[in-house]
Protein backbone atom coordinates (compact mmCIF):
# COMPACT_ATOMS: atom_id res chain seq x y z
CA UNK A 1 0.00 0.00 0.00
CA UNK A 2 2.70 2.46 1.06
CA UNK A 3 4.76 1.50 -1.97
CA UNK A 4 1.90 2.28 -4.34
CA UNK A 5 1.41 5.67 -2.71
CA UNK A 6 5.13 6.31 -2.85
CA UNK A 7 5.23 5.67 -6.59
CA UNK A 8 2.11 7.73 -7.24
CA UNK A 9 3.40 10.74 -5.35
CA UNK A 10 6.98 10.47 -6.64
CA UNK A 11 5.73 10.39 -10.21
CA UNK A 12 3.43 13.31 -9.46
CA UNK A 13 6.26 15.27 -7.87
CA UNK A 14 8.56 14.62 -10.81
CA UNK A 15 5.89 15.43 -13.38
CA UNK A 16 5.07 18.69 -11.63
CA UNK A 17 8.75 19.54 -11.34
CA UNK A 18 9.18 19.03 -15.08
CA UNK A 19 6.09 21.20 -15.55
CA UNK A 20 7.78 23.98 -13.59
CA UNK A 21 10.86 23.82 -15.79
CA UNK A 22 9.21 23.47 -19.15
CA UNK A 23 6.00 25.49 -18.96
CA UNK A 24 6.08 28.80 -20.83
CA UNK A 25 3.20 30.24 -18.88
CA UNK A 26 4.37 31.56 -15.52
CA UNK A 27 1.09 30.83 -13.77
CA UNK A 28 1.23 27.25 -15.02
CA UNK A 29 4.73 27.05 -13.65
CA UNK A 30 3.66 28.36 -10.26
CA UNK A 31 0.75 25.93 -10.07
CA UNK A 32 3.07 23.06 -10.98
CA UNK A 33 5.41 24.15 -8.20
CA UNK A 34 2.48 23.99 -5.77
CA UNK A 35 1.77 20.49 -7.08
CA UNK A 36 5.38 19.53 -6.41
CA UNK A 37 5.20 20.84 -2.87
CA UNK A 38 2.00 18.95 -2.22
CA UNK A 39 3.44 15.69 -3.54
CA UNK A 40 6.54 16.24 -1.43
CA UNK A 41 4.31 16.73 1.59
CA UNK A 42 2.61 13.44 0.76
CA UNK A 43 6.04 11.76 0.61
CA UNK A 44 6.83 13.22 4.04
CA UNK A 45 3.59 11.73 5.32
CA UNK A 46 4.68 8.35 4.00
CA UNK A 47 7.90 8.81 5.98
CA UNK A 48 5.73 9.50 9.04
CA UNK A 49 7.12 13.03 9.30
CA UNK A 50 3.67 14.54 9.73
CA UNK A 51 4.85 17.79 11.20
CA UNK A 52 7.23 18.39 8.32
CA UNK A 53 4.52 17.53 5.79
CA UNK A 54 2.06 19.93 7.34
CA UNK A 55 4.62 22.70 7.61
CA UNK A 56 5.61 22.11 4.01
CA UNK A 57 2.03 22.71 2.91
CA UNK A 58 1.45 25.55 5.36
CA UNK A 59 4.58 27.55 4.57
CA UNK A 60 5.44 26.76 0.97
CA UNK A 61 2.14 25.94 -0.66
CA UNK A 62 0.01 28.10 1.60
CA UNK A 63 2.05 31.26 1.99
CA UNK A 64 5.14 31.48 -0.20
CA UNK A 65 3.44 30.40 -3.40
CA UNK A 66 0.51 32.72 -2.80
CA UNK A 67 3.01 35.58 -2.75
CA UNK A 68 4.64 34.19 -5.90
CA UNK A 69 1.29 34.05 -7.65
CA UNK A 70 0.48 37.50 -6.35
CA UNK A 71 3.64 38.92 -7.91
CA UNK A 72 3.19 37.04 -11.18
CA UNK A 73 -0.31 38.42 -11.50
CA UNK A 74 0.72 41.96 -10.60
CA UNK A 75 3.54 41.94 -13.14
CA UNK A 76 1.31 40.27 -15.71
CA UNK A 77 4.17 38.37 -17.35
CA UNK A 78 3.32 37.45 -20.93
CA UNK A 79 4.20 34.01 -22.24
CA UNK A 80 7.85 34.11 -23.20
CA UNK A 81 7.39 32.21 -26.45
CA UNK A 82 10.58 32.48 -28.47
CA UNK A 83 13.02 33.80 -25.95
CA UNK A 84 16.59 33.06 -26.96
CA UNK A 85 18.44 31.01 -24.41
CA UNK A 86 21.57 32.84 -23.35
CA UNK A 87 24.95 31.22 -22.89
CA UNK A 88 24.65 31.69 -19.13
CA UNK A 89 21.46 29.67 -19.03
CA UNK A 90 23.15 26.87 -20.95
CA UNK A 91 26.16 26.96 -18.67
CA UNK A 92 24.02 26.95 -15.52
CA UNK A 93 21.90 24.09 -16.85
CA UNK A 94 24.97 22.05 -17.71
CA UNK A 95 26.49 22.61 -14.28
CA UNK A 96 23.22 21.72 -12.60
CA UNK A 97 22.90 18.57 -14.68
CA UNK A 98 26.49 17.64 -13.87
CA UNK A 99 25.88 18.02 -10.16
CA UNK A 100 22.78 15.86 -10.44
CA UNK A 101 24.68 13.10 -12.29
CA UNK A 102 27.44 13.19 -9.67
CA UNK A 103 24.82 12.97 -6.93
CA UNK A 104 23.10 9.96 -8.49
CA UNK A 105 26.44 8.20 -9.01
CA UNK A 106 27.51 9.00 -5.46
CA UNK A 107 24.29 7.65 -3.99
CA UNK A 108 24.51 4.51 -6.11
CA UNK A 109 28.06 3.80 -5.09
CA UNK A 110 27.54 4.52 -1.39
CA UNK A 111 27.95 1.29 0.57
CA UNK A 112 25.89 2.35 3.58
CA UNK A 113 22.75 2.73 1.48
CA UNK A 114 23.22 -0.48 -0.46
CA UNK A 115 23.67 -2.55 2.65
CA UNK A 116 20.35 -1.88 4.33
CA UNK A 117 20.82 -1.85 8.09
CA UNK A 118 18.26 -3.69 10.13
CA UNK A 119 17.84 -1.04 12.80
CA UNK A 120 16.64 2.08 11.05
CA UNK A 121 17.23 5.38 12.84
CA UNK A 122 14.32 6.64 14.91
CA UNK A 123 12.53 9.52 13.31
CA UNK A 124 12.74 12.19 15.99
CA UNK A 125 10.35 14.49 14.13
CA UNK A 126 7.36 12.22 14.65
CA UNK A 127 6.83 13.38 18.17
CA UNK A 128 6.09 17.08 18.17
CA UNK A 129 7.62 17.72 21.52
CA UNK A 130 10.85 15.95 20.60
CA UNK A 131 10.91 17.89 17.38
CA UNK A 132 10.68 21.20 19.20
CA UNK A 133 13.16 20.12 21.83
CA UNK A 134 15.74 18.99 19.28
CA UNK A 135 15.21 22.15 17.25
CA UNK A 136 15.98 24.40 20.19
CA UNK A 137 18.85 22.34 21.68
CA UNK A 138 20.83 20.15 19.29
CA UNK A 139 20.03 22.08 16.14
CA UNK A 140 19.86 25.53 17.66
CA UNK A 141 22.79 26.92 15.69
CA UNK A 142 21.56 25.86 12.23
CA UNK A 143 18.16 27.23 13.06
CA UNK A 144 19.58 30.54 14.18
CA UNK A 145 21.75 30.74 11.08
CA UNK A 146 18.74 30.05 8.86
CA UNK A 147 16.78 32.71 10.65
CA UNK A 148 19.63 35.13 10.24
CA UNK A 149 19.80 34.36 6.52
CA UNK A 150 16.13 35.17 6.20
CA UNK A 151 16.70 38.39 8.09
CA UNK A 152 19.54 39.31 5.73
CA UNK A 153 17.42 38.69 2.68
CA UNK A 154 14.58 40.73 4.17
CA UNK A 155 16.84 43.67 4.95
CA UNK A 156 18.35 43.33 1.48
CA UNK A 157 14.95 43.52 -0.18
CA UNK A 158 14.03 46.59 1.82
CA UNK A 159 17.36 48.24 0.99
CA UNK A 160 17.01 47.46 -2.72
CA UNK A 161 13.40 48.48 -3.09
CA UNK A 162 13.69 51.68 -1.08
CA UNK A 163 14.01 54.79 -3.19
CA UNK A 164 17.28 56.41 -2.22
CA UNK A 165 17.34 60.13 -1.87
CA UNK A 166 20.28 61.26 -3.98
CA UNK A 167 20.18 64.91 -2.96
Amino acid sequence: MTDIFFYIFSILALACAFGVVFSRNTVNGAMCLIGTFMSMAALFVLLEAYFLAVVQVLVYAGAVMVLFLFIIMLLDVKESAARKTSIYTWAASLIGFGIMVIGVVAINSAESIKTKTANLPVAEGVNLKNFGYELFTTYLLPMQVTGFLLLISMVGVIALSKKTNTQ
Binding site: Y50, V55, V57, V66, N127, K129
Partner: protein
Protein backbone atom coordinates in the same frame (compact mmCIF):
# COMPACT_ATOMS: atom_id res chain seq x y z
CA UNK B 1 -5.21 -1.97 6.57
CA UNK B 2 -7.92 -4.24 5.31
CA UNK B 3 -10.52 -3.34 2.77
CA UNK B 4 -13.36 -3.15 5.29
CA UNK B 5 -11.55 -0.45 7.19
CA UNK B 6 -11.16 1.63 4.03
CA UNK B 7 -14.80 1.20 3.05
CA UNK B 8 -15.90 2.14 6.56
CA UNK B 9 -13.81 5.30 6.41
CA UNK B 10 -15.33 6.15 3.03
CA UNK B 11 -18.81 5.77 4.45
CA UNK B 12 -17.96 7.94 7.47
CA UNK B 13 -16.44 10.57 5.20
CA UNK B 14 -19.52 10.55 2.96
CA UNK B 15 -21.77 11.00 5.99
CA UNK B 16 -19.72 13.84 7.44
CA UNK B 17 -19.41 15.64 4.11
CA UNK B 18 -23.13 15.36 3.43
CA UNK B 19 -23.87 16.71 6.91
CA UNK B 20 -21.54 19.63 6.23
CA UNK B 21 -23.21 20.27 2.87
CA UNK B 22 -26.61 20.14 4.53
CA UNK B 23 -25.41 22.59 7.16
CA UNK B 24 -24.15 24.84 4.37
CA UNK B 25 -27.45 24.88 2.52
CA UNK B 26 -29.34 25.62 5.71
CA UNK B 27 -26.75 28.23 6.63
CA UNK B 28 -27.70 29.98 3.39
CA UNK B 29 -31.33 29.87 4.46
CA UNK B 30 -30.42 31.10 7.93
CA UNK B 31 -28.47 33.94 6.41
CA UNK B 32 -31.44 35.00 4.30
CA UNK B 33 -33.85 34.69 7.20
CA UNK B 34 -31.65 36.52 9.71
CA UNK B 35 -30.89 39.29 7.27
CA UNK B 36 -34.59 39.75 6.61
CA UNK B 37 -35.48 39.76 10.29
CA UNK B 38 -32.81 42.32 11.07
CA UNK B 39 -34.02 44.47 8.19
CA UNK B 40 -37.70 44.17 9.17
CA UNK B 41 -38.60 41.87 6.29
CA UNK B 42 -40.10 38.40 6.17
CA UNK B 43 -37.60 36.49 4.05
CA UNK B 44 -38.18 33.35 2.02
CA UNK B 45 -41.64 32.10 2.91
CA UNK B 46 -43.19 30.70 -0.27
CA UNK B 47 -41.49 27.45 -1.17
CA UNK B 48 -43.52 24.44 -0.26
CA UNK B 49 -43.34 20.72 -0.87
CA UNK B 50 -46.39 18.88 -2.22
CA UNK B 51 -46.98 16.43 0.64
CA UNK B 52 -45.37 17.98 3.70
CA UNK B 53 -46.60 21.44 2.79
CA UNK B 54 -50.22 20.35 2.96
CA UNK B 55 -50.14 19.03 6.54
CA UNK B 56 -52.68 21.32 8.29
CA UNK B 57 -50.73 23.45 10.79
CA UNK B 58 -47.18 22.21 10.43
CA UNK B 59 -47.01 22.56 6.64
CA UNK B 60 -47.81 26.27 6.42
CA UNK B 61 -45.61 26.93 9.46
CA UNK B 62 -42.60 25.25 7.84
CA UNK B 63 -43.35 27.03 4.58
CA UNK B 64 -43.42 30.40 6.34
CA UNK B 65 -40.11 29.50 7.95
CA UNK B 66 -38.69 28.78 4.50
CA UNK B 67 -37.52 25.30 5.45
CA UNK B 68 -37.88 24.02 1.89
CA UNK B 69 -36.10 26.97 0.31
CA UNK B 70 -32.64 25.29 0.03
CA UNK B 71 -34.08 22.76 -2.45
CA UNK B 72 -35.02 25.27 -5.18
CA UNK B 73 -31.88 27.26 -4.38
CA UNK B 74 -29.75 24.20 -5.10
CA UNK B 75 -31.74 23.28 -8.20
CA UNK B 76 -31.36 26.81 -9.46
CA UNK B 77 -27.58 26.54 -9.19
CA UNK B 78 -27.68 23.25 -11.06
CA UNK B 79 -29.96 24.15 -13.92
CA UNK B 80 -29.20 27.76 -14.74
CA UNK B 81 -27.29 28.38 -17.91
CA UNK B 82 -23.58 27.95 -17.36
CA UNK B 83 -21.88 30.83 -19.13
CA UNK B 84 -18.16 30.59 -19.73
CA UNK B 85 -17.05 33.92 -21.18
CA UNK B 86 -14.81 33.75 -24.24
CA UNK B 87 -11.96 35.71 -22.73
CA UNK B 88 -11.21 33.44 -19.78
CA UNK B 89 -8.44 30.93 -19.25
CA UNK B 90 -10.71 27.88 -19.40
CA UNK B 91 -8.61 25.40 -17.44
CA UNK B 92 -8.10 27.56 -14.36
CA UNK B 93 -11.54 29.09 -14.72
CA UNK B 94 -13.13 25.68 -14.23
CA UNK B 95 -10.59 24.53 -11.66
CA UNK B 96 -10.91 27.57 -9.39
CA UNK B 97 -14.34 26.79 -7.85
CA UNK B 98 -13.23 23.22 -7.17
CA UNK B 99 -10.04 24.43 -5.50
CA UNK B 100 -12.00 26.77 -3.29
CA UNK B 101 -14.42 24.08 -2.12
CA UNK B 102 -12.14 21.06 -1.72
CA UNK B 103 -9.90 22.45 1.08
CA UNK B 104 -12.96 23.45 3.06
CA UNK B 105 -14.32 19.91 2.88
CA UNK B 106 -10.90 18.34 3.46
CA UNK B 107 -10.35 20.13 6.76
CA UNK B 108 -13.41 18.36 8.14
CA UNK B 109 -11.44 15.16 8.59
CA UNK B 110 -9.50 16.44 11.61
CA UNK B 111 -12.39 18.26 13.29
CA UNK B 112 -13.80 16.21 16.17
CA UNK B 113 -17.50 16.79 16.63
CA UNK B 114 -18.14 14.87 19.81
CA UNK B 115 -16.76 12.28 22.14
CA UNK B 116 -17.79 8.82 23.18
CA UNK B 117 -16.88 6.78 26.23
CA UNK B 118 -15.93 3.27 25.19
CA UNK B 119 -16.74 0.16 27.20
CA UNK B 120 -13.22 0.26 28.57
CA UNK B 121 -13.97 3.66 30.05
CA UNK B 122 -11.77 5.48 27.59
CA UNK B 123 -12.86 8.82 26.14
CA UNK B 124 -12.51 8.67 22.37
CA UNK B 125 -13.20 11.47 19.90
CA UNK B 126 -15.80 11.19 17.16
CA UNK B 127 -13.55 12.24 14.31
CA UNK B 128 -12.58 10.97 10.88
CA UNK B 129 -8.83 11.14 11.44
CA UNK B 130 -7.40 11.65 14.91
CA UNK B 131 -4.18 13.31 13.82
CA UNK B 132 -1.63 14.56 16.29
CA UNK B 133 -0.90 17.66 14.25
CA UNK B 134 -4.62 18.27 13.66
CA UNK B 135 -4.60 21.98 14.24
CA UNK B 136 -1.64 22.57 11.94
CA UNK B 137 -3.16 20.31 9.31
CA UNK B 138 -6.30 22.39 9.45
CA UNK B 139 -4.39 25.63 9.02
CA UNK B 140 -2.29 24.16 6.23
CA UNK B 141 -5.21 22.92 4.18
CA UNK B 142 -7.39 25.96 4.73
CA UNK B 143 -4.51 28.18 3.65
CA UNK B 144 -4.79 26.50 0.24
CA UNK B 145 -8.32 27.72 -0.32
CA UNK B 146 -7.01 31.16 -1.20
CA UNK B 147 -5.85 29.68 -4.51
CA UNK B 148 -9.45 29.21 -5.53
CA UNK B 149 -10.10 32.91 -5.19
CA UNK B 150 -6.79 34.01 -6.67
CA UNK B 151 -7.10 31.72 -9.67
CA UNK B 152 -10.72 32.71 -10.21
CA UNK B 153 -9.69 36.34 -10.22
CA UNK B 154 -6.79 35.76 -12.55
CA UNK B 155 -8.38 33.35 -14.99
CA UNK B 156 -11.48 35.51 -15.44
CA UNK B 157 -9.22 37.89 -17.32
CA UNK B 158 -11.24 40.95 -16.47
CA UNK B 159 -10.46 43.77 -14.12
CA UNK B 160 -12.93 43.46 -11.25
CA UNK B 161 -12.34 39.76 -10.57
CA UNK B 162 -8.63 40.44 -10.85
CA UNK B 163 -8.76 43.18 -8.24
CA UNK B 164 -10.82 40.89 -6.02
CA UNK B 165 -8.29 38.09 -6.36
CA UNK B 166 -5.35 40.37 -5.58
CA UNK B 167 -7.10 41.79 -2.54
CA UNK B 168 -8.05 38.35 -1.28
CA UNK B 169 -4.54 36.97 -1.52
CA UNK B 170 -3.00 39.94 0.30
CA UNK B 171 -5.67 39.90 2.97
CA UNK B 172 -5.51 36.17 3.64
CA UNK B 173 -1.74 36.11 4.02
CA UNK B 174 -1.86 39.07 6.39
CA UNK B 175 -4.47 37.63 8.68
CA UNK B 176 -3.08 34.11 8.70
CA UNK B 177 -0.08 35.44 10.64
CA UNK B 178 -2.05 37.01 13.46
CA UNK B 179 -4.35 33.98 13.50
CA UNK B 180 -1.47 31.58 13.93
CA UNK B 181 0.20 33.61 16.64
CA UNK B 182 -3.03 34.16 18.56
CA UNK B 183 -3.55 30.45 19.24
CA UNK B 184 0.00 29.81 20.47
CA UNK B 185 -0.92 30.56 24.13
CA UNK B 186 -3.48 27.76 23.95
CA UNK B 187 -0.94 25.31 22.60
CA UNK B 188 1.48 26.34 25.34
CA UNK B 189 -1.14 25.75 27.98
CA UNK B 190 -2.30 22.41 26.59
CA UNK B 191 1.26 21.10 26.21
CA UNK B 192 2.24 21.56 29.83
CA UNK B 193 5.49 19.88 30.83
CA UNK B 194 5.52 16.18 31.41
CA UNK B 195 2.71 15.45 28.95
CA UNK B 196 2.99 14.13 25.42
CA UNK B 197 3.13 17.02 22.99
CA UNK B 198 -0.08 17.52 21.08
CA UNK B 199 -1.77 19.75 18.57
CA UNK B 200 -4.82 17.58 18.50
CA UNK B 201 -8.10 19.49 18.47
CA UNK B 202 -9.69 16.81 20.64
CA UNK B 203 -7.07 17.18 23.36
CA UNK B 204 -7.44 20.95 23.24
CA UNK B 205 -11.20 20.67 23.68
CA UNK B 206 -10.78 18.14 26.49
CA UNK B 207 -8.39 20.50 28.26
CA UNK B 208 -11.27 22.93 28.79
CA UNK B 209 -13.07 21.06 31.53
CA UNK B 210 -12.52 24.02 33.81
CA UNK B 211 -12.10 27.45 32.35
CA UNK B 212 -12.89 27.78 28.70
CA UNK B 213 -10.03 29.36 26.83
CA UNK B 214 -12.24 32.24 25.72
CA UNK B 215 -12.57 33.16 29.39
CA UNK B 216 -8.99 33.38 30.42
CA UNK B 217 -7.48 34.18 27.04
CA UNK B 218 -10.07 36.70 25.83
CA UNK B 219 -7.60 38.65 23.71
CA UNK B 220 -6.56 35.52 21.86
CA UNK B 221 -10.20 34.70 21.30
CA UNK B 222 -10.98 38.14 19.91
CA UNK B 223 -7.95 38.21 17.62
CA UNK B 224 -8.72 34.71 16.41
CA UNK B 225 -12.34 35.61 15.77
CA UNK B 226 -11.45 38.74 13.81
CA UNK B 227 -8.95 36.77 11.75
CA UNK B 228 -11.57 34.09 11.20
CA UNK B 229 -13.87 36.71 9.73
CA UNK B 230 -11.06 37.82 7.44
CA UNK B 231 -10.09 34.29 6.44
CA UNK B 232 -13.64 33.30 5.58
CA UNK B 233 -14.07 36.50 3.57
CA UNK B 234 -17.10 37.54 5.54
CA UNK B 235 -18.25 41.05 6.11
CA UNK B 236 -16.74 43.35 7.38
CA UNK B 237 -13.77 41.80 5.58
CA UNK B 238 -15.29 40.69 2.28
CA UNK B 239 -12.64 42.48 0.26
CA UNK B 240 -12.58 39.76 -2.36
CA UNK B 241 -16.23 40.26 -3.10
CA UNK B 242 -17.11 43.83 -2.05
CA UNK B 243 -20.02 44.15 -4.42
CA UNK B 244 -20.32 47.90 -4.06
CA UNK B 245 -16.85 48.39 -5.52
CA UNK B 246 -15.99 45.33 -7.59
CA UNK B 247 -19.37 44.20 -9.00
CA UNK B 248 -18.99 40.95 -7.11
CA UNK B 249 -15.25 40.54 -7.01
CA UNK B 250 -13.60 37.30 -7.91
CA UNK B 251 -16.78 35.51 -8.99
CA UNK B 252 -18.11 38.23 -11.27
CA UNK B 253 -17.69 36.08 -14.37
CA UNK B 254 -19.05 32.92 -12.77
CA UNK B 255 -22.53 31.59 -13.18
CA UNK B 256 -24.64 28.57 -12.39
CA UNK B 257 -22.99 25.63 -10.71
CA UNK B 258 -19.49 27.08 -10.67
CA UNK B 259 -20.79 30.05 -8.75
CA UNK B 260 -22.68 27.61 -6.57
CA UNK B 261 -19.43 25.89 -5.64
CA UNK B 262 -17.91 29.21 -4.54
CA UNK B 263 -21.05 29.96 -2.61
CA UNK B 264 -21.09 26.61 -0.82
CA UNK B 265 -17.34 26.91 -0.26
CA UNK B 266 -17.79 30.19 1.58
CA UNK B 267 -20.37 28.67 3.89
CA UNK B 268 -18.33 25.51 4.34
CA UNK B 269 -15.44 27.67 5.48
CA UNK B 270 -17.78 29.37 7.89
CA UNK B 271 -18.99 26.05 9.28
CA UNK B 272 -15.46 24.77 9.74
CA UNK B 273 -14.32 28.08 11.19
CA UNK B 274 -17.14 27.98 13.71
CA UNK B 275 -16.24 24.39 14.62
CA UNK B 276 -12.61 25.33 15.20
CA UNK B 277 -13.48 28.37 17.29
CA UNK B 278 -15.83 26.25 19.37
CA UNK B 279 -13.13 23.64 19.92
CA UNK B 280 -10.37 26.11 20.69
CA UNK B 281 -12.15 28.69 22.77
CA UNK B 282 -15.69 27.68 23.68
CA UNK B 283 -14.99 24.41 25.42
CA UNK B 284 -15.99 22.03 22.65
CA UNK B 285 -18.75 19.80 24.03
CA UNK B 286 -18.62 20.96 27.64
CA UNK B 287 -22.05 22.41 28.35
CA UNK B 288 -20.84 25.07 30.79
CA UNK B 289 -17.50 26.17 32.21
CA UNK B 290 -16.53 23.81 35.06
CA UNK B 291 -19.37 21.48 34.07
CA UNK B 292 -18.78 18.50 31.82
CA UNK B 293 -21.29 15.98 30.57
CA UNK B 294 -19.70 13.34 32.77
CA UNK B 295 -20.26 15.47 35.86
CA UNK B 296 -23.95 15.67 35.03
CA UNK B 297 -23.99 11.89 34.84
CA UNK B 298 -25.12 11.66 31.22
CA UNK B 299 -21.70 11.03 29.75
CA UNK B 300 -21.86 7.29 29.28
CA UNK B 301 -22.64 5.34 26.14
CA UNK B 302 -24.39 6.52 23.02
CA UNK B 303 -26.58 9.01 24.88
CA UNK B 304 -23.48 10.79 26.11
CA UNK B 305 -22.02 10.75 22.60
CA UNK B 306 -25.22 12.14 21.09
CA UNK B 307 -25.39 14.78 23.81
CA UNK B 308 -21.81 15.86 23.18
CA UNK B 309 -22.46 16.14 19.44
CA UNK B 310 -25.65 18.11 20.13
CA UNK B 311 -23.88 20.55 22.47
CA UNK B 312 -21.05 20.97 20.00
CA UNK B 313 -23.40 21.59 17.09
CA UNK B 314 -25.44 23.97 19.23
CA UNK B 315 -22.40 26.10 20.00
CA UNK B 316 -21.36 25.97 16.38
CA UNK B 317 -24.79 27.15 15.23
CA UNK B 318 -24.66 29.95 17.77
CA UNK B 319 -21.36 31.03 16.30
CA UNK B 320 -22.79 30.83 12.78
CA UNK B 321 -25.57 33.11 13.96
CA UNK B 322 -22.92 35.48 15.27
CA UNK B 323 -21.22 35.48 11.88
CA UNK B 324 -24.48 36.45 10.19
CA UNK B 325 -25.44 38.90 12.88
CA UNK B 326 -22.14 40.74 12.42
CA UNK B 327 -22.54 40.67 8.66
CA UNK B 328 -25.84 42.50 8.81
CA UNK B 329 -24.58 44.98 11.39
CA UNK B 330 -21.21 46.24 10.27
CA UNK B 331 -20.28 48.01 7.05
CA UNK B 332 -17.25 46.90 5.08
CA UNK B 333 -13.81 48.17 6.04
CA UNK B 334 -11.87 50.20 3.54
CA UNK B 335 -9.01 48.20 2.06
CA UNK B 336 -6.24 50.25 3.68
CA UNK B 337 -8.04 49.92 7.00
CA UNK B 338 -8.06 46.14 6.58
CA UNK B 339 -4.32 46.09 5.96
CA UNK B 340 -3.65 48.49 8.81
CA UNK B 341 -5.76 46.42 11.18
CA UNK B 342 -4.01 43.22 10.16
CA UNK B 343 -0.41 44.34 10.20
CA UNK B 344 -0.27 47.24 12.61
CA UNK B 345 -2.80 46.21 15.22
CA UNK B 346 -3.65 42.51 15.24
CA UNK B 347 -0.17 41.15 14.58
CA UNK B 348 1.67 43.21 17.25
CA UNK B 349 -1.22 42.65 19.62
CA UNK B 350 -1.11 38.90 19.13
CA UNK B 351 2.65 38.83 19.67
CA UNK B 352 2.31 40.93 22.84
CA UNK B 353 -0.45 38.58 23.94
CA UNK B 354 1.82 35.60 23.32
CA UNK B 355 4.67 37.08 25.34
CA UNK B 356 2.33 37.97 28.19
CA UNK B 357 1.00 34.43 28.32
CA UNK B 358 4.53 33.01 28.20
CA UNK B 359 5.14 34.69 31.55
CA UNK B 360 1.71 33.91 32.96
CA UNK B 361 1.91 30.24 32.06
CA UNK B 362 5.49 30.00 33.31
CA UNK B 363 4.39 31.54 36.60
CA UNK B 364 1.40 29.20 36.91
CA UNK B 365 3.50 26.16 36.07
CA UNK B 366 6.29 26.91 38.50
CA UNK B 367 4.50 28.36 41.50
CA UNK B 368 1.31 26.30 41.62
Amino acid sequence: MDINFIILKFVYAAIVVSVIMGLCSYAVLAERKISSWIQGRVGPNRTSLPLIGSIPVLGPFLTRLGVFQPIPDGLKFLFKEDVVPGHVNKFYFIMAPVISLVPALTTVVVVPFGRIVTDAGEVVPLVLANVNVGLLFLFAISSLSVYGIVLAGWSSNSKYPFLGGIRASAQMISYELAMGVSILPILMWVNNPGLEGTMNLFDIAQAQNGFWFAMWMPLSAIIFLVCLFAETNRLPFDMAESETELVSGFHTEYSSFKFGLFFVGEYAHMVIGSCVFTLLFLGGWNPLPFVTIDMLGWGAGYIGAALSVAIFLGKMCGLMFFFMWVRWTLPRFRYDQVMKLGWKILLPLSIANLIAYVFIIYYLDTSL
